[in-house]
């Protein structure tokens, strides 16, 4: 997952918490009447994604195939898209965003419901990908990539193979000062909650406070909090062990085969990044066409080979070469294995508490 952030979060989930708690159903405004036969060559869309989270020439290929014009914008965090969308017309047509944040936008009526008639390639998805808790039935979003959060490490530097969140939270002396954690609050709290045996989406204040104590004890042993460049730190040898999203660990593996990924034995999360269409989009046919294009098995497998993240597209994953899975073992994770992990769900009214704990940890001496 690409939870790219500009800075450690202070209150990221507050918005989500309120939004999800207040509104279970989406799309009250009803879908706009769409014309399946619209002339796409007269349409142009802006697609906002994280940097290098899709093949560079994907937009151009889509243009060539459909005739629609595509402009690419970049955002650094889920919160940035939420902020832009709630501020008014962002000019964005299609956005790539975490499923939980997509649900928050939908609750505010900011998303256009997905019209399945215009996305026939939805049929390519794993059946399980239709059951995800943030958007059962994929009514307002279409899954793009999914995966887990775990430990990414340089086996040659650690000298052993870690298998527990405690290897990160209470590092051995030889790797102390050479570990990093993610600072986005839900994922900052994840290792502590899991190591204590709690749910990754707990709303219990006492459990959260226990997790905070763990994180405060861990802070002095960290090199830094890092949401984005941890794999580069492993490659350079600056860090030995980092908390990482599986696909991003693969970037490190590309540069150094000694880098390995492991899901800690205490368990972790299942996250999903999705594509959504903004209500303000003026070219919704082209937006749908773009999403449908991505779901094409050839394209989506090409995407996975390019970004090294698993896709929820069965047809696409079936086309992935065994060599790639050998090089990046976590791409071979089966759907069953993935669903052994606890999918992230919204934390409702506990959102501000997560926010506060994240600030207290980051501001602590």
């Amino acid at each position: 997952m690409k939870a790219k952030r500009t800075y450690l979060s202070v209150a990221a989930a507050t918005t989500v918490g309120l939004a999800v708690a207040s509104c279970g159903s989406s799309g009250e405004d009803g879908p706009t009447a769409l014309d399946p036969d619209a002339d796409l060559s007269k349409q142009s869309i802006v697609v906002s994604n994280y940097e290098s989270y899709m093949p560079e020439d994907l937009p151009a290929r889509f243009s060539a195939a459909s005739g629609a014009q595509v402009e690419v914008a970049y955002h650094a965090s889920n919160e940035e898209i939420v902020a832009k969308a709630t501020a008014g017309d962002s000019g964005i047509d299609v956005a790539f965003i975490n499923g939980v944040y997509a649900q928050a936008l939908a609750a505010q009526g900011l998303l256009e419901p997905i019209d399945p008639r215009l996305v026939p390639n939805l049929a390519n998805l794993y059946p399980e990908a239709n059951t995800l808790p943030y958007d059962p039935g994929n009514k307002i979003s279409v899954p793009y990539a999914w995966g887990t959060t775990g430990l990414c490490y340089r086996s040659d530097l650690t000298g052993y193979d870690p298998d527990s969140w405690l290897d990160l939270l209470e590092p051995r002396p030889e790797i102390s000062g050479k570990t990093t954690m993610v600072s986005t609050e839900r994922w900052l709290l994840l290792p502590a909650l899991k190591s204590l045996g709690f749910s990754n989406s707990t709303q219990d204040e006492d459990e959260l406070n226990q997790a905070k104590e763990v994180l405060l004890r861990t802070k002095p042993t960290l090199l830094a909090y890092d949401d984005a460049t941890f794999f580069q730190r492993l490659v350079s040898g600056e860090a030995s062990l980092v908390q990482a999203y599986d696909g991003w660990c693969n970037y490190g593996i590309t540069d150094n085969p000694d880098i390995k990924y492991v899901v800690p034995k205490e368990g972790t999360d299942l996250w999903v990044d999705v594509m959504v269409i903004m209500k303000t989009s003026e070219n919704k046919e082209a937006a749908h066409a773009f999403i449908n294009y991505v779901l094409d098995p050839e394209i989506h497998s090409w995407v996975t080979e390019n970004i090294l993240y698993k896709s929820p597209n069965k047809a696409a994953m079936d086309m992935i070469s065994p060599e790639l899975i050998e090089q990046y073992p976590n791409i071979g994770t089966t759907v069953e294995e993935l669903f052994e992990q606890e999918p992230l769900v919204d934390v409702g009214d506990a959102g501000p508490l997560y926010t506060r704990i994240a600030l207290e940890v980051s501001a602590a001496d």
Binding site: Y74, H75, T229, V235, S236, E238
Partner: protein, 259 residues
């Protein structure tokens, strides 16, 4: 005169090392043969090659140049008029303060204020809003530069012009402005440079497709570290240096002539 204390000389030398050490590091690392931005692995020009073929970066540079050029041009025109107006047509101290507030207010406040206002008025964020944000502080800098110069210029020059038959605006155009030229150029250059470098206000006011160079650099530094950034930094240093030398020469020459 008493000699300068030795400890002062030592501190000064240390300070210059402090100022230039990172820049020298940057320049050396830009010729890195490897892809690790921290560790030197052989010497090559590969990152400069990447730089010139990096479409995204070139697009961001274009946006930045547009923002800096438009905002500093507006600032030069509006700011010069404002400075002259403040000096010659009013004695209001509060108007003077209003005119330089954007130069002293923290950028995060300016950026947030603009973002909040654009949101409230449903103005779509984009290149125009970035230009608007930059024009404000650029104008404030031009005003201060021109004001400083006006304070030391002889007001009878303008009276002489009117006396010889020029109207108010002809006088500002043909006499005041040329005399102020070094200050206007200095203020404009300052505004231009600050705009090229400005990240905070731009980050709050830019739309989804209007990333300026600092925004791109920030996201690269945060997410996609490669020695390409070192190469870019080196090029920017060279360009700044050349601009500085040319600018200083020009101002020096003009300054002498109109002194």
């Amino acid at each position: 005169m008493r000699p300068t204390p030795l400890v002062f000389k030592v501190i000064t030398v240390a300070a210059f090392i402090f100022l230039y050490l990172p820049i020298i590091t940057l320049i050396v690392m830009s010729f890195n043969g490897g892809r690790n931005p921290y560790v030197m692995e052989g010497v090559s020009l590969q990152w400069y090659r990447e730089l010139v073929t990096d479409g995204e970066l070139i697009a961001a540079l274009e946006q930045t140049l547009i923002v800096a050029t438009v905002s500093s041009l507006i600032a030069v025109v509006v700011g010069t008029a404002l400075a002259v107006g403040l000096a010659r047509t009013t004695r209001s101290r509060s108007l003077e303060i209003v005119s330089v507030v954007p130069a002293v207010i923290p950028d995060v406040v300016q950026g947030i204020g603009l973002a909040a206002m654009f949101t409230l008025l449903a103005v779509p964020l984009g290149l125009t809003t970035v230009i608007a944000g930059h024009t404000v502080f650029a104008t404030a800098f031009v005003v201060s530069a021109v004001r400083a110069r006006l304070a030391t210029s002889d007001p009878s020059l303008e009276e002489a012009s009117r006396d010889l038959g020029a109207g108010t605006f002809t006088t500002y155009l043909r006499i005041t402005t040329p005399i102020m030229a070094p200050a206007i150029v200095a203020g404009g250059l300052l505004a231009f440079t600050l705009s090229l470098d400005e990240y905070v206000i731009a980050s709050f006011t830019s739309g989804s497709t209007s990333a300026t160079l600092p925004i791109l650099v920030y996201s690269r530094v945060r997410f996609n570290l490669t020695p390409e950034i070192n190469a870019l930094g080196t090029l920017l240093i060279v360009v700044s240096l050349v601009a500085l030398v040319i600018g200083a020469r020009w101002i020096g020459r003009r300054g002498k002539v109109s002194a």
